[in-house]
């Protein structure tokens, strides 16, 4: 069994699976149970400044998007930061940390964009023994209207400034949580690094309206006939999150900056994928909110099994392993030619590949009267849509044409050499041939 113990910024945890700052980590009761259930760490639900806590709506806070069989694919929420007093949270954090010294406990914080506010809260957080802090610059609803959360996260200069304050007033790791509600994620990440952040975590939730009630004509969740955008999370956001993580991981400005990955992580596989893109730890919320704390058990066992299969002794063996393979489109090998192949024995003859290809792609699949579907290599551009819509895994695969053979679509011989767009004759910017 592979060793899952994790070291992120010097913060040790029994495994890389942390619960993200969110409702599951709002209080001692939940966090103790989460640790007992096997979670490696938690980022405590975001603390606000001293004084009367924020209030939440008293109607529904969540909305959802479903896949087949009402499987929850996306969740959005309009909940704010903790609505319990700072004192209560700090006391609970200290108790939990002292009882679980080997587990990671990070305090998420969101206070007004003034140095004195940060200077006031940070020493009190430090007293709890928390392993580090996470700056909530991501919350896209409610708090952003008050100049906090995403309102800070969308202005790189503010990020840098606040991060600097935190490094000044706090001596443990500072993680900056980024909002995805921005055009170029590298800019806030660079700002965080410039401010001295030890790591970034991403993504926070995405602005979203999950549904509109067609009787009341109001967005859901609906509060007395009105709705507002919430923060979107869950499996649906994973691809967006991974892309943003990879941008930070491979940009020269931010390369090497530790990352805690967040966004739709539901299974060990999701976690492993984020980690190969450079995440030293991953944070989970929606999956726990959907299935309960027990899902971490599957994540731990799955990751361990996979690591054993791959011969990885520790998580550091594969963190970042996929980064070198994330590149720009222009560097993709144009001499790599594949064709779709349909396993006729596995085919159940639903015809979805045919409909997809015929109606919306390259008319490269034929259909016989007895429903045999075959790829026409002279039309197939290897787009992969048939693979994606086929309900049977591995029924349709993409097979590379061997070197020296001829692509029936282009009539060109398959070359061994790597050749990309930068040198392609159709590229007006390509260097002229010798």
């Amino acid at each position: 069994m592979a060793d899952l113990t994790n070291d992120f910024l010097g913060v040790k945890s029994p495994n890389p699976f942390w619960l993200a700052s969110a409702p599951p980590t709002d209080k001692e009761y939940n966090v103790r149970r989460a640790f007992e259930a096997g979670w490696g760490g938690v980022v405590w639900k975001t603390l606000g400044a001293e004084g009367p806590p924020v209030v939440n709506v008293n109607g529904p806070r969540y909305g959802a998007i479903y896949g087949a069989d009402r499987r929850l694919l996306g969740l959005n929420n309009i909940e704010l930061i903790t609505d319990r007093s700072l004192e209560t949270n700090l006391e609970e954090m200290a108790r939990v940390k002292s009882d679980y010294p080997d587990h990671a406990l990070i305090a998420s914080i969101m206070v007004p964009c003034e140095e004195e506010a940060w200077a006031a809260i940070l020493p009190r957080v430090a007293e709890t023994g928390a392993d580090g802090i996470e700056l909530n610059f991501g919350c896209p609803h409610g708090m952003s209207e008050r100049g906090m959360g995403a309102a800070v996260g969308q202005v790189p200069e503010y990020i840098e400034m606040v991060t600097r304050w935190c490094k000044k007033h706090y001596d443990r790791p500072v993680i900056v949580k980024l909002t995805p509600n921005i055009t170029d994620i590298r800019k806030p990440a660079t700002a965080a690094r410039n401010g001295g952040a030890d790591a970034v975590s991403l993504i926070n939730t995405i602005n979203s309206i999950t549904s509109v009630n067609l009787d009341s004509f109001a967005p859901e969740p609906t509060i007395d006939g009105k709705g507002t955008h919430g923060g979107y999370c869950g499996p649906a956001v994973k691809p967006i999150a991974m892309s943003m993580v990879s941008e930070i991981a491979r940009d020269p400005e931010t390369h090497g900056l530790p990352i805690s990955g967040i966004g739709g992580i539901t299974t060990w596989r999701d976690a492993a994928e984020f980690m190969t893109l450079g995440c030293g730890t991953v944070q989970v919320c929606t999956a726990a909110m959907t299935y309960g704390f027990k899902i971490v058990e599957e994540m731990k066992r799955g990751l361990s099994e996979w690591m054993d299969d791959k011969g990885f002794a520790s998580t550091s063996d594969f963190v970042g392993k996929a980064i070198p393979n994330v590149t720009d489109w222009q560097y993709l090998n144009l001499n790599y030619v594949t064709k779709a192949r349909i396993d006729q024995d596995a085919c159940i003859k639903c015809g979805r590949c045919y409909a997809a290809c015929e109606d919306t792609s390259h008319q490269a699949i034929s259909m016989s009267p007895d429903r045999v579907f075959e790829v026409e290599d002279d039309e197939c551009v290897a787009c992969n849509l048939c693979v994606d819509v086929c309900p049977v895994e591995e029924c349709i695969t993409m097979e590379r044409l061997p070197t020296g053979s001829v692509d029936p679509r282009t009539g060109k011989r398959i070359e061994t050499d790597y050749a990309n767009w930068t040198t392609h004759p159709n590229n007006p910017l390509a260097p002229a041939a010798e």
């Binding site: 087949a68 069989d69 009402r70 159940i348 003859k349 639903c350 015809g351 979805r352 045919y354 409909a355 259909m367 429903r371 309900p391 049977v392």
Partner: protein, 442 residues
Amino acid sequence: MTSQLTPGIVPGRLGPEEIGKNFSDLHAPLDRHEATVAADRCYFCHEAPCVTACPTEIDIPLFIRQIATGMPEAAAKTIFEQNILGGMCARVCPTETLCEEACVREAAEGKPVEIGRLQRHATDSLMSRQGHPFHRAAETGKRVAVVGAGPAGLACAHRLAMKGHTVTIYEARSKPGGLNEYGIAAYKATDAFAAREVDWLLGIGGITIEYDRPLGADLDLETLRTDFDAVFLGMGLGGVNALDAPGNDRDGVADAVDFIAELRQSENLTKLPVGRHVVVIGGGMTAVDAAVQSKLLGAEQVTLAYRRGPDKMPASQYERDLATSKGVRILTHVMPKAMHGNGSVAEIELEYTQEIDGSLQGTGETFRLPADQVFRAIGQSLVSGLGLDMAGSKIATSDNGRTSLDKVWAGGDCTPGEDLTVVAVSEGRDAAEDIHAALTGA
């Protein structure tokens, strides 16, 4: 006190509670949640095999998607556009040999999408509403006679009425529905569904039914041809194939179709007599329906005796499994040799058979089973061809049900093809379209 062990043909073998349970819905309707879960399994196949397998070509992926998106009533309209008896078909279709057999998830997982039950969910949703979902076109002034208020006749009449024609249905019996009312097993169409469905169907308007008017002495085809602009023949198979075995005329030997009709019309099944030892001769749906219902009425032992092998049995595997699950014993490769008894039948003598070069022969070895009731279910036939050209024992038709006689169409069990409700509906519907085209020059 009567029990299952009481000899002879007697009523009340089971109490009202057990009878009620035995004859309740074979499959409970899917509730909304169940329907959503079931609908989610549909892959929305391209030119879906299930549609091809449906004689009425209902757009199954579309209606299932409509259920999945919360529109069961719109789904029902998709169904009814193709098959106005979609409610009954959802209950009685042998889906296991039609749409569900063709379902790609049958190929993938051996577990098809539950198309029949989803269809019932949709059609029940719409039929429980007040009113009728279709509108009648403006009156054309054309009049069409339909013979038989069974599935073929009803489907034809509805389509014609929708097109604005005026339809008179001549029905031999005193109730409409044909085999939906008098045939098929009771547990497949509970709560008088057949009658309610006809009432609902007639909501289109423009259709009159004249009961107790069989073709015959006071109603002949020639008169209909003269009095109407077109005639559609949708009669059932009124004749029952004879069983050629000594003792066939003993008391206790009867036709399965009559037993089933009596059962379907019975107000109180605890008053319906049934034998202690029942033997049903045959291997089709009628045989299974008679056997299963005998068992459900409380017969102690019910045997279904079929002369060929199980692979030749017209009843589907599903039907046979249903029968055996209810306690019916199925014997194959046996044929009736004689019915013995002193007055009433007491025993049936069966002979083993074998097929030699495709012909069925007795082996000479016989055995006897106790039998105080024997049902013949060896097929039905058309009573009269009415002088029309025949294809075998049925009325010959060309495309869209045209017969050899001008102005006369036919469909359903009286014409060639499988004797299924859904086939009858498709033939009645298609004939109606053709009649409409002929009458309007469209």
